[in-house]
Symmetry: C3
Subunit: 166 residues, 3 copies
Amino acid sequence: MSKSSTVTSREQPVADVTSLSGALKVHGETLTIQTDHRIQVLDLTERVMSMVRRLRIREGIVHLFSMHTTCTVFINEFQTALLADIKRFLEHVVARDAEWMHNDPEYSDCDRMNADSHLRAMLLGHNLTLQVSGGEVVLGQWQRILMAELDGPRARSLRIQIFGIS
Amino acid sequence: MSKSSTVTSREQPVADVTSLSGALKVHGETLTIQTDHRIQVLDLTERVMSMVRRLRIREGIVHLFSMHTTCTVFINEFQTALLADIKRFLEHVVARDAEWMHNDPEYSDCDRMNADSHLRAMLLGHNLTLQVSGGEVVLGQWQRILMAELDGPRARSLRIQIFGIS
Amino acid sequence: MSKSSTVTSREQPVADVTSLSGALKVHGETLTIQTDHRIQVLDLTERVMSMVRRLRIREGIVHLFSMHTTCTVFINEFQTALLADIKRFLEHVVARDAEWMHNDPEYSDCDRMNADSHLRAMLLGHNLTLQVSGGEVVLGQWQRILMAELDGPRARSLRIQIFGIS
């Protein structure tokens, strides 16, 4: 197990000031991502960065959206130790075995017993909007684009939209 | 009380890949929403989906913004049992009766005694960005666009901006 | 110490309905912000509002992004008492001195011992998307654009992108 965090490097640093006018280009794609555990954090950074480079949008926005209530996208550092801390924190802040109504057949027809997954997802959020500048995603040195599976394992759909001027 | 969650259905499924160029169209509207309880989760999905269909933006973004510090927008499942769990979780994670300075007349001129509402709102967030593709909002089967009133009852203003190519 | 919250005022109120078509303009800038404490909430509202006015985008989006994993952007009220409550809540919901693996040299080569900062940042989020309408940022009366330093003091980079039709 590595003790280090993954470093993010753009080909060029982000310019201090950028300005561009032109026609809008919108491109959308659905990614399918297979998860292996009930709670799991995956690093999507390279996939998103390579898609943005391929589409040749110079200045704009990239929007990520998890198409599931119990799967989320967010920014943080990617390091094995910190991922274990994230899992432990989520399990602590929302107890899986509390008497949630969503898990009670008297009140709910959901058979996944996943109230904890819904509540944890509410804290992390389902959408993430990042800037594109100089043809690359704007990210700091330690920032990684992460997906948190909160009720896996499953195949998950993530929609990516890139939006801007080429 | 229904045990089931509301299902979201688009007229057409989201296409795997979409690409479009053209002039940008930006449309904004303010919705007023009356709430009935101190804490209440409302389902805005049909209102937002019908506004997007009416505006005939094919590919783009829809942005929702609550114009209040103690009212939030987020994605989750809409089911009576889960809504009760969300309320219970929020009341647990931020205690209403802790000795918050915002509720103390010695330090604060706010007479609503709503520190809990501010802190809960900070966890859920005030803005939500969703994709529009094929003329409809991109949402998974169980995903609903929700507004959480955290210091009602009140009339709340929500601003919606639709942004894209028609 | 003032007991009052800062009020936000636009030159003109937000119009109920706005609609505009045209070429897209994208402008990006990096702001550097020096913080003075380990946990500190700063009010960026006036800087963001004046940048938007200067760029003369009439309808569009302004996107704020913290380029650091332990520094966040969010919306709330700006009042000294509430800021103390926010700090107290963050210190309570994520304990700094729990046995986090990220702080253990056996598992982590990070020497900042800042697992708490990473977990608190995950709750607040690194990106914020706001509407621009009538040439000004759309904000409610008590809403302020806040940055939370969670592992300072440091110099922080915040990237702002303004996106729309002039």
